[in-house]
Amino acid sequence: MRRVLLSLIIVIIGITFLGRLSYLQIFSFSPDQVIEDPSIKRVYTYPERGYIYDRNGNLLVGNDPAYDVMVIPREVQPLDTLEFCGMLGIDKEKFVEKLTKARVYSPRLPSVLVPQLSKEDYAKLQEKMRKYKGFYIQKRSLRYYDTPSAANVLGYISEVNEGDLAKNKYYIQGELRGRTGVERYYEELLRGRKGVQYIQKDRFNRDIGPYKNSSLDTLPEQGKQISITLDKTLQEYGERLMVGKRGGIVALEPATGEILSMISGPTYDPSLLVGRERSKNYTELYNDTIANPTWDRSIHAQQPPGSPFKTLNALIALQEGVLDESTTIRCYNGFYVGKKKRGCHCGGGLRNLNSGIYQSCNAYFAGTFRKIFEKFDTTDEAMDVWEKHMKSFGLGDYLGYDLPFGQKGRIPSKEYYDKWYGDNRWSSSFIISNSIGQGEVLATPVQLANMTAAIANRGFYYTPHILKKIEGKEITDPRFTEPKRTTIDKEHFEPVVQGMADVYRKGTARWLQIPGIEVAGKTGTAENFTKINGVRTQLTDHSVFIAFAPVEDPKIAIAVYIENGYFGSRYAGHIASLMIEKYLKGEITRKDLEKKMLEKTLEHEYAKPFSGEEFKINERVW
């Protein structure tokens, strides 16, 4: 017993020690310890964020150096306050107040004493800074916007938050990252990679040399310069036209899918979200929940597309062979659904495909829609075919562009109606409104523009995208360079395109012809409703217009959606016409038309639902 006792104690001690050591060194050990190790300091070198240019090489976003005067309160030594304040351009009270605040925050850590000095002040201070112990100047880089427009596309950068830090190990507290738009989507291209130097420290926090002979250190990697597909002139022009109006404009280059402009009204100057006033401005924009300037309507606003949708129904009917160009349908200043009459503005009479499109005859397209459904034995089958065709135009689902997702829009399916009415409890007459772009279909402006581009291309489209070049080299991403085919054969497009051209020649947009340019377009006037105190109330129709030009060699496809702008040929038609002329000719010949559009606003319409009074809709104002 006595002999074994000591051996036993030795073994127990050994096991206890090994247990404790394996707890420390195996279970508690985490490989991230280099990051937490207090004996290794990391010093970062930040590369300059990449510049953003438009499609023609005009600068949109660059960087501006900013100089912050920093203070480490503990290291401050008695100084000539008067002279120092003079150079900083602040008075003594303010200086003392700031210094006290910094000391309260932390005596050891640097605080900003005066943010964003002007370049002149910086030049003056720089020489003398040495004299003032405990103060130094920290150079920062701020985003600089060489345009007052495109805030919704460019996005902005802001400090990383807790969520970013948890998700992405790259970032550390206080760094900036792209928050929306291009800045966010192409964050990694624009940002580059910060360089890091590891420095060994002792317990007094003094540097005692490089860690592992600098073998782990990295050099910063420059941010990439990128060109985006926007046309700066067109974008700025469109935003001027949108002043006082709500809605979205999207213009694409049909041959590539490049987004020429993407406008949301109302919008804001991107420079508002940079610099000293940033947070104040941001709060103001964010709190405007009625006009909602931070909400990008061009990709988020899903609305009934209205009459432009008729062109697709025509294409489907041709593809399915349920009618041809000569097929006629009579319009009784409307059409009947059962015993109920639905109106039409076209003037009545016998309509064929061509006049049905350029006069935007509701009766003709209701008939067309019926013919599509009559071809099939069951409504379900017809619905599937119709849905498949529609979706091939990029409707009813995310388009997959390199911007925030936006909204899907909606192309209703048979399941959608089964849920609504019950299985086999509905027929084409229940859903006839879809024939004229009302009813259940919804689309965003970018989807409308894309659909227009597909028509302009006679049967295919490229996914709309915003990135054009990286460091001067055109992108090769197959997502954007390979065409997506629609389910409609090429030959069926010509009659529809001719109908759309006639919209300008003799139809609903004949007042909007552009001298010397053949345009194909389609007006739309979309009924819409809101709830006022729980009562469903109709508002003035949305004004919708899609167009592409020139007809035979399309360079631009555009969709304009103006909320409560009434007839499609009014606000939307005017704006589309001006945008096309601006893009193709570079200048506007119809100055009075332009003047009218720049001056007119719809604020009075937008005020109506909030006025608390009875109001009229669809007033003839001009």
Binding site: R2, L6, I10, L21, I26, F29, I208
Partner: protein, 426 residues
């Protein structure tokens, strides 16, 4: 004659000894490493000095082995007497380093008599216990044996160096081996247990626990068993009284720094803000040493690559906290190797002690084991955070010339005795 010694000496022990000394020196080198190029034997560096003492230790080994084995038994009492005198002399001529008057200044190095006392006391105790006249069943002899241990300890405590003094109590083990009744040990453990329980849970919970235990005993006992009621009652009351006295001693007689050490050790503080405070003050050493060991992981950061070692985050890293360097640079592989080497050494020494025909040799062997074991246990226990902070070195590892020299002396005197194991009398 020397050839015989070499043939009979226990080479396994020597091998482990060499391994420990080499590993120790490597880590001292790493702990004190700077980028300046110096020669290994540069006596201005700590590693150079230590290397010098390693060489001195080797010379000492040769001298020890060359001397007659009976020399140690014969002069044990004289050694002891001289050591006691040198300990007393410290109060007159001692040199004070870091607040403790534990050294004689011998010019080229500082001599610490308490190190020598460990060897001398182990020899003296072995001699007394192996004496034919001594009978451990007699209380008088028990007390006499304990006195041999307590005298040097009591002289060392006021230096102050309670850590070294504690080492002497480990020699009580030798007395147990030779026949001191085991219930002394039982009582000792019970007292420690009550001490810890009282601090962690308080006297009330201790009492409740005790009553529950007694109740459990009554429930589970055989019907026929006669219950010794009186002893149980007296025992319980004694335990409660002791527990109350623990509270009194802890709160009134201990100094705040001692209280802090215990509350740190038993993890009594739960408030995270206060814990943070403790980490920066009294818990700083333990916190840093645990972190340094932890950061080594399984494989370690590599020789001379310990960032916390280089940054001097762990205080006393070449002396009492040398084990952290092994932990950081060599990882679990390194620490486990050291633990296993020590364990093998101890088990081997027990084996060697038990095979002695001569009682003096056996008892001295146990003395060696006790002294080395308590150093190893307290030092590593402290460094890895399972024992309170008590500053004593890790044998063969920690920087310090006299330390290494006397641990070597302690061990090799036994190995010399072992070469004579077959003779009952020298």
């Amino acid at each position: 004659m020397f050839g015989k010694v070499l043939r009979r000496i226990d080479w396994l022990t020597i091998l482990i000894y060499l391994a420990l000394v080499i590993i120790g020196w490597t880590n001292i080198y790493s702990s004190t490493f700077t980028d300046e190029q110096t020669s290994l034997l540069d006596l201005t560096t700590r590693s150079g000095k230590q290397l010098f003492f390693i060489i001195v230790s080797f010379v000492t080994i040769i001298v020890i082995l060359a001397l007659e084995a009976n020399f140690y038994e014969r002069f044990a009492s004289l050694f002891y007497l001289l050591t006691i005198l040198s300990l007393i002399g410290l109060y007159l001529f001692g040199k004070t380093i870091a607040g403790a008057t534990s050294w004689y200044d011998l010019g080229f190095f500082n001599f610490q008599p308490s190190e020598l006392a460990k060897v001398a006391t182990a020899l003296a105790l072995a001699k007394y216990l192996s004496d034919i006249q001594t009978d451990l069943r007699r209380i008088k002899d028990q007390l006499y044996a304990l006195l041999i241990i307590f005298i040097p300890a009591l002289l060392i405590i006021p230096q102050p160096d309670p850590g070294s003094a504690l080492v002497f109590f480990s020699l009580i083990f030798v007395i147990f081996r030779e026949g001191l009744p085991l219930y002394y040990l039982g009582i000792g453990f019970t007292l420690i247990l009550i001490f810890i329980t009282t601090l962690m849970f308080g006297t009330i919970w201790l009492t409740i626990g005790l009553l529950l235990l007694i109740a459990l005993f009554f429930l589970l006992k055989r019907k026929s068993l006669k219950v010794p009621l009186l002893p149980i009652a007296i025992g319980s009351i004694a335990i409660i009284l002791f527990s109350l006295s623990v509270n009194f001693v802890f709160n009134n007689l201990f100094e705040q720094r001692h209280r802090d050490r215990f509350s740190l050790w038993l993890r009594l503080e739960k408030d995270p803000e206060k814990l943070e405070q403790i980490r920066k003050t009294i818990g700083y050493n333990t916190y840093q040493s645990e972190k340094a060991i932890e950061s080594g992981g399984f494989f370690g950061k590599g020789f001379l690559e310990g960032t916390r070692t280089k940054g001097d985050f762990v205080p006393e890293q070449d002396t009492d906290y040398i084990f952290t360097t092994i932990g950081e640079e060599w990882g679990f592989i390194g620490t486990a190797t050291v633990i296993i080497l020590f364990s093998i050494l101890f088990l081997r020494l027990i084996y060697l002690a038990e095979r002695q025909k001569n009682a003096f040799s056996r008892m001295y062997g146990y003395g060696v084991i006790s002294v080395l074991l308590i150093h190893y246990f307290i030092n590593i226990g402290m460094v890895i955070g399972i024992l309170p902070t008590i500053g004593i070195p890790l044998p063969f590892f920690s920087y310090g010339g006299s330390g290494l020299l006397f641990f070597t002396l302690l061990l090799f005197v036994f190995l010399k005795l072992d070469t004579n194991r077959l003779k009952e009398n020298f």
